[in-house]
Structure formats: structure tokens, C-alpha cells
């Protein structure tokens, strides 16, 4: 039996207000094996840690139980503290009496009883703990960034600048992402492409950055420091090394009626195309689904007109396998589909548009060359209504439960730009709340109201009714005047909710990164580790983690880069010592454990054993510690119990069960 010390944290009043910590100490002292128990205000503080260290030294403790917050919070803190006092760090166990007890129970008696049981379970476990030693694994000094929008570009640039090679994988033919579709940016109203394009150029020109555009991540294996990734480079049908980007092929392509993704379907493009003028790389791709040559075998115009001879109809998808030490996810967002919002007549009228469509309309390179006009008849609108929170803050399944965060600001921007350029146009904004936290944000919104005369009405729109005369009848509520408003508008702009790129779920699964019900990637800690995934070596950049605007995205991109650089700067990583272990005397060599091992960490060898006097050669399962991640799938598959998991052994878990069921 170990000599165990129990340390009960008050966590200020977080624990002590609901759990009688003195009682927990008293009960701990009554437990067999417990030779020391004390409580303290903040165990995680310097003084608290010293208390633990002193007790380890003075009482010669072999095991430590800290009754405190979640082990996900301070397990490492206490383990490090114990190590400094000469105790193996894995002889420390945490009883989570905050998140799992004091914070969720109100009754002191009940909470104290539960805290005592959790303490006992931890004591029972630590009694069976064995000293463990972390192994080492190497770090591949190369990073992968998934997604080539502003988030991915910024992250890649920062990592590259620190001297590490980094690859960007971008699904579309060009990097640039959502930001390249924007006309102006708030709150300074600079031109989006004017600030983005230089960054795109930097990224493509940087010696440490490799761009894989029109490419997708196909398979990820390995673990922090040593990921192996398969990247599918889709066939571009254009030889990148030969293409000069002259654009003749696009001019001559006879297939011209394909809705442009970049212009949100408001204009057309050709089958061989670059998505937009500033695209990087400036090499077109052939959209094989719409190309006449691929559909019928006849045509080949682009090949004929290409001076450089860059067109290659036989190009095949290529799989590139590369090793990475860190992976940054920057998969961005899209607008939600509005098919569940019939009341706003989005599908009935061309003049009901989303804000991103308005961005394209306002953009000089857009479908209307920057002229504000109705898509139905090309006429200049006189009355424009903006509707906020379309699909955001929604409790039912039509929309999203969260606030999309950027809409208030871009709507103020749109309203202001319209009023600035077309002073005769009336702009009305129906809003629920105007949310403008951010530097110079509220001032920006106030300018829209005060200087530009945008009419903000507190209240939501109930429905939009297309009229026979081409107008749109907007029925809304004014909650300040307490009246219902009927307004004829020429154009209605919907601030549709944003949602993570739908591909992110697939990517998260490959990366084993956790993801929430809204498809946003989960961060390791909401406050303290906001740019890391709980999966080691995976970092989050941009909207894939949660709604955010450009400045926030760029700062998070930098933060993710720093985290990745911090990882790449290490030569070796300590591995989790809680790995599976095979008992050679019990192993049957039946291969079942190898079947369920997700890491291929189990192999078999013919080994001479001495089983209590029986000497024979047996087929024995062997675990590769460097590959094993400690999930424990093998331990349950193994009928004889030969496979056990260090740190979470059968007997340890059973001891916890026993203590809880006592």
C-alpha cells in the first residue's frame, strides 16, 4: 500500500462554499494508506504546490491525491510539482470536486458526501498507480495549413517567417477565400482586395511556403509531431509549369454559361477558368463536368489556342504524401442556405439577396461592374431594406443558435456605402440588437445613423411579399413605436447566418479533432487555449473555430502560427506514457488486439517464454510505445486480459468502481 497524501483545494469559494473541505480532509485521514491530508485556499498557487512538495518530502509520500478542479485543468501543474519534490509525476491523481461536484450541486451535505466518494476513488486508484516514464518522439519540422483564406495565408506566412516550411492545401483553384469576395472592409472601409492581394502574393512567393491549390486532404495518420498526410492534387488539366496565365483559353472557351462560384452565381464563367482576376496561382483549371471536350470528346479549343502548350487533358489526380509536425485548420465558412426562410421570398424574387451577393454587386469586378442595380430589371433601387439575424440566434432547426457576429458591422458598412454613393436611396435596417463590440465599431455604426441617415428600426420583419409591380412589400414590426410597418422596397438584403465550411466535419474526423454540434471545431480550453484543438498538434485558425471578423481572424491566425512554431521548435516531444502493455505470459497471440488498434502499434513476435517452469516459444503481442496512443481498445478485445493500459489499468478502474459503489 502506498503512503498517500490528500490535498483538498478550496478554490476560493468555488469548492469550499458547497463542499465541506474540512470534512473531506477528515474522511481522507480515515482512509487506509492515507498518511497526510490537508486543505488550502488555492492548491494550484505557489504556496499550495509547496504544501504538496513539503508533504511529499516530509511524509515520504508514494502517492498524491489532489481534490480540486478538473484534471484537464491542473493535472499537469500538480504532476510537475510532485516531480520537483522527487515523486514520479504519474503517482498523482486528481479528484474532480469542482466541475463534477461543487459547481453542480447546491446541497452542502450532498456535495460533501460526493466529494468524499470521489476522493476515495482517487485514493483507491493512486494506490495501484505505478511510476511511469514518458517516452520521446520526433518532430517533423514542417507544418500543414488546411484552407487558403486570409486565416490560412496569415498562419502560413507567420510560420514561414519563423523559418519552417509550410504547405497550404486549398480546395478551390485559388487562394484568397471569402475575403477575396468582399468589396470593402469595416470599420475603415479599405478595399478588401487591395489589402489581401499583397498577402496572397507574399504567400505564393515565400520560399518556405508550398501552395497546393485545387487540392484536398485525403488521409491523415500519425500524431503530434509526426503526422502523415495524403493530399489529393486534383487534375487541373493545365500544366502549371507551362501556363503563362495569358487568359486566351478563357476568352475562347465556347462553354460560357456556367454560374460563377466567385460571383455567387450572379454571373457566368467559362469551363476553363480562373475564379477571379487576382487569382493565385494565375493558372486556370478545366471544370471537367462542364467542359465540352470532357463531356463529348470534341472541342479542344483551349488546347489549340494555348501558345504555351499547357493544356493537358490527360492529367490525373495526384496523391502527395508528406509528413508534418503540426496541422492548422483554417477551413473558414459559408453562408447558410435560405431555403427554410420562405417568408423572406429569397427564392421568389431576384431582388431579395444575401449580403455576400450585395458585396459582389457593389464590387467593380462583380456582375454589375459595381453598379447598384436590381438583378430583376437592372433598375436602380430607391428603397433598400436590410433584414438582420436571418438564421442567426435561432432556437429551431431552421437556422443557427449562435450569433454570426459579423452581420451588424457589415450591414452598417453596406448601408453607409450605399448612402454615400447613392444619396437618393433610402436605407432601412430592421434589427433586433446592434452588436458592435470592437475597436471603433460602435462609432462606425453611429456614423451610419448620424452622418449617413440610415433608418434603423428595432424590430424584425415578418414577411416580404413580392408585388405585381416588381416592388417588395416588407411587413415588419417597430417595437419602439409599437406599430406594424408596411414598406415597399426595391431591394431586400438578408444578413444570412454564417456556418462553418461543410467539409470541416470530414476533416475533423480525419484529424480526430473534436467538433461541436454547429460544426465549429472545439478549442482545448474556451479561454486559455482558444487556438488549439484538444487533439495535440492540431491548431485552429479563423472561423472554423467560431464566428469572427477579419481583424480577429488575422490575430487568431497569428496565434495559431505561434503555437505551431512552438511545437516545431522542439526536437523531441515527450510521449504519453499511458500506453498499452502486453503480458507475455498471458498473451494468446490471437491477433484480435492488432485488428482493433487504430495505430498499427501492435505486432507479434515468436518469443521464448518461461511460464512458471514451462519453457516454450510462443506468439506474443508486442506494443510499440511510440505508436500507441493509449486508447485501450486492445485491452477490451483481449479475452485473457494480457493487454492492459498503464495509468488506466483494469485494476485501477475496478478500484475506482469499487470505491464509488461502496
Amino acid at each position: 500500500m502506498q503512503r498517500i497524501g490528500v490535498f483538498v483545494c478550496h478554490c476560493g469559494t468555488n469548492i469550499a462554499a458547497t463542499v465541506d473541505v474540512k470534512k473531506v480532509v477528515e474522511m481522507a485521514l480515515a482512509e487506509p494508506g492515507v498518511v497526510h491530508a490537508e486543505d488550502y485556499q488555492y492548491m494550484c498557487s505557489e504556496v499550495g504546490q509547496e504544501k504538496i512538495q513539503n508533504a511529499i518530502r516530509e511524509k515520504n509520500l508514494g502517492g498524491v491525491v489532489v481534490c480540486s478542479c478538473s484534471p484537464r485543468m491542473h493535472e499537469t501543474t500538480f504532476r510537475n510539482a510532485a516531480q520537483k519534490a522527487g515523486l514520479n509525476p504519474y503517482m498523482v491523481e486528481i479528484a474532480n470536486i469542482r466541475e463534477h461536484c461543487s459547481w453542480i450541486h447546491k446541497d452542502v451535505k450532498e456535495a460533501t458526501e460526493k466529494a468524499v466518494i470521489l476522493m476515495r476513488a482517487a485514493v483507491a486508484k493512486v494506490n495501484l498507480n505505478t511510476p511511469l516514464k514518458a517516452g520521446e518522439s520526433r518532430v517533423t519540422k514542417r507544418a500543414l495549413v488546411i484552407g487558403g483564406g486570409i486565416a490560412g495565408i496569415q498562419t502560413a506566412l507567420d510560420i514561414a517567417e519563423a523559418g519552417y516550411p509550410v504547405d497550404i492545401v486549398e480546395k478551390t483553384p485559388s487562394i484568397g477565400g471569402r475575403m477575396s469576395q468582399l468589396d470593402k472592409t469595416f470599420p475603415t472601409l479599405d478595399c478588401s482586395s487591395c489589402i489581401l492581394t499583397p498577402k496572397m502574393v507574399d504567400a505564393s512567393a515565400h520560399p518556405n511556403i508550398t501552395l497546393y491549390t485545387y487540392s484536398e486532404v485525403e488521409k491523415v495518420s500519425g500524431f503530434v509531431g509526426d503526422f502523415t498526410v495524403d493530399i489529393r492534387k486534383k487534375a487541373r488539366s493545365v500544366d502549371m509549369s507551362k501556363c503563362t496565365g495569358c487568359g486566351v483559353c478563357q476568352e475562347k472557351c465556347p462553354s460560357k454559361k456556367i454560374p460563377s462560384e466567385f460571383n455567387r452565381g450572379l454571373s457566368n464563367r467559362t469551363a476553363i477558368y480562373t475564379p477571379f482576376a487576382q487569382a493565385i496561382p494565375n493558372v486556370p483549371v478545366i471544370d471537367r463536368e462542364n467542359c465540352i471536350k470532357f463531356k463529348t470528346g470534341k472541342c479542344g479549343v483551349c488546347s489549340k489556342v494555348c501558345q504555351a502548350g499547357a493544356i493537358d487533358y490527360n492529367q490525373k489526380d495526384e496523391i502527395i504524401t508528406e509528413k508534418y509536425g503540426a496541422i492548422v485548420v483554417a477551413t473558414g465558412f459559408d453562408m447558410i442556405k435560405l431555403d427554410k426562410y420562405d417568408e423572406y421570398a429569397y427564392s421568389q424574387s431576384k431582388d431579395v439577396i444575401t449580403s455576400l451577393e450585395l458585396e459582389r454587386i457593389m464590387n467593380a469586378a462583380g456582375p454589375t461592374s459595381g453598379h447598384l442595380e436590381r438583378l430583376s430589371d437592372g433598375k436602380a433601387p430607391k428603397e433598400i431594406v436590410f433584414i438582420q439575424c436571418v438564421g442567426s440566434r435561432c432556437a429551431d432547426d431552421r437556422g443557427k443558435s449562435y450569433c454570426s457576429k459579423i452581420c451588424c458591422m457589415y450591414t452598417a458598412k453596406h448601408a453607409m456605402l450605399i448612402r454615400d454613393k447613392y444619396p437618393d436611396v433610402n436605407v432601412t435596417v430592421f434589427y433586433i440588437d446592434v452588436r458592435t463590440p470592437g475597436k471603433n465599431f460602435d462609432e462606425f455604426y453611429r456614423r451610419a445613423v448620424e452622418e449617413y441617415g440610415v433608418n434603423y428600426i428595432k424590430g424584425q420583419v415578418g414577411k416580404v411579399i413580392p408585388q405585381p409591380n416588381g416592388k417588395l412589400l416588407v411587413q415588419g414590426a417597430d417595437l419602439i413605436d409599437n406599430k406594424q410597418i408596411l414598406k415597399e422596397a426595391d431591394m431586400v438584403v438578408l444578413a444570412a447566418a454564417i456556418e462553418p465550411n461543410p467539409d470541416v466535419r470530414k476533416i475533423a474526423t480525419m484529424l480526430t479533432a473534436s467538433i461541436d454540434t454547429n460544426n465549429f471545431l472545439t478549442e482545448a480550453h474556451a479561454k486559455l487555449r482558444p487556438v488549439e484543438s484538444p487533439t495535440a498538434g492540431i491548431f485552429l485558425s479563423g472561423v472554423c473555430q467560431g464566428p469572427k471578423d477579419i481583424p480577429e481572424t488575422v490575430s487568431q491566425a497569428g496565434a495559431a502560427a505561434v503555437k505551431a512554431i512552438g511545437l516545431l521548435a522542439k526536437d523531441k516531444l515527450l510521449t504519453n506514457p499511458c500506453t498499452a502493455h502486453s503480458d507475455e505470459l498471458l498473451s494468446n497471440g490471437c491477433s484480435q488486439c492488432a485488428h482493433v488498434c487504430p495505430y498499427g502499434a501492435i505486432t507479434y513476435e515468436e518469443r521464448q517464454v518461461n511460464d512458471h517452469g514451462i519453457r516454450e516459444v510462443r506468439r506474443i503481442a508486442v506494443v510499440n510505445d511510440a505508436l500507441c496512443q493509449g486508447c485501450g481498445a486492445c485491452t477490451v478485445t483481449c479475452p485473457s486480459g494480457a493487454m492492459d493500459l498503464q495509468g488506466f489499468s483494469n485494476r485501477q478502474i475496478q478500484a475506482e468502481v469499487d470505491a464509488i459503489c461502496l
Binding site: 487533439t535 499511458c578 468502481v657 464509488i660
Partner: protein
């Protein structure tokens, strides 16, 4: 007739939670102050696939009234496939317990992500209610372990 109030049945419930999703979900329930009955005690395991049917039977043997296993949602396992194996194992185990006449509902599997504090809390409340309605586990307990 007894004048004493009948003592309320407080079930013993063991919740196995995987470290990456459900344990974090339970932490989130805690930091969001989403209360659930104190009858639930959580054991942290690396993955739902670490939970051996023997642990579950052991809990019942020792007088547990309900056992719930929480893991990452299928497809989201930190170890890619652990919860898929757990799902098959638990399905078969539960089916066997049902077959030998153990009350349905004493065991449960629920997928709770790190972001689902609310789900964790409501799941636990539901489960405790269910176990309270089933009453004490007498079909699997080992009498020697009784108090």
C-alpha cells in the same frame, strides 16, 4: 403504519466518460453550473473503448444501480475508431443483460461531445430518473457487498 417518512431511494450510478469528449462535456456542464443529481459519479477513461464489460458487471456486483457510458460522437473519436468498437460491445452486452432478465435501462450509452454540457446534464438527469423509477438493482448485485 410507519410514521417515519420513507427514505428517498438514492441510486448509485457510475458514469464512464471518455477523456476527450464526454469528460470535457461534464466539465463544461460543471462550469456552466448545469446541475444534475449527485448520485452520478464519473470515472475518467481515455476512450469509451477502454470500458470493459467486466467493469460494468463489477459495478453492478458491487451494488451500482445504473451504469452509463459516455463517449465522443461516432465519427469524432479522438482515437478515430474507439467508440465504434465500444458501440458494438455495449450493444451486445446490453442485449445479453436484457436476455437474462436484467431490467432494460439500467445501462445506457450516450455520445456527448466536449461542447455538449447541456446534453451531459440532461442525460444524467434523465438517467437518474430512469434508475429511480427502476429502483434498486437486485438482479445483479452480489449480496456479500451489501452494507
Amino acid at each position: 403504519m410507519s410514521i417515519e417518512a420513507k427514505e428517498e431511494f438514492r441510486p448509485k450510478i457510475v458514469a464512464f466518460c471518455c477523456n476527450w469528449c464526454s469528460y470535457a462535456g461534464a466539465d463544461l456542464a460543471g462550469s456552466s453550473r448545469l446541475a444534475y443529481p449527485a448520485d452520478v459519479k464519473i470515472i475518467r477513461v481515455p476512450c469509451s473503448c477502454r470500458v470493459n464489460p467486466m467493469f460494468i458487471l463489477r459495478a453492478f456486483e458491487r451494488g451500482a444501480d445504473g451504469v452509463i457510458l459516455c463517449g465522443c460522437h461516432p465519427g469524432d473519436c479522438h482515437y478515430t475508431s474507439g467508440n465504434y468498437y465500444a458501440r458494438r460491445r455495449m450493444t451486445l452486452l446490453f442485449s445479453m443483460l436484457d436476455f437474462i432478465g436484467v431490467e432494460n435501462g439500467r445501462t445506457r450509452v450516450e455520445w456527448v461531445s466536449a461542447a455538449e454540457g447541456v446534453k451531459f446534464s440532461t442525460t444524467m438527469r434523465e438517467f437518474v430518473d430512469k434508475i429511480r423509477s427502476l429502483g434498486k438493482n437486485v438482479r445483479l448485485e452480489d449480496l456479500r457487498c451489501r452494507n
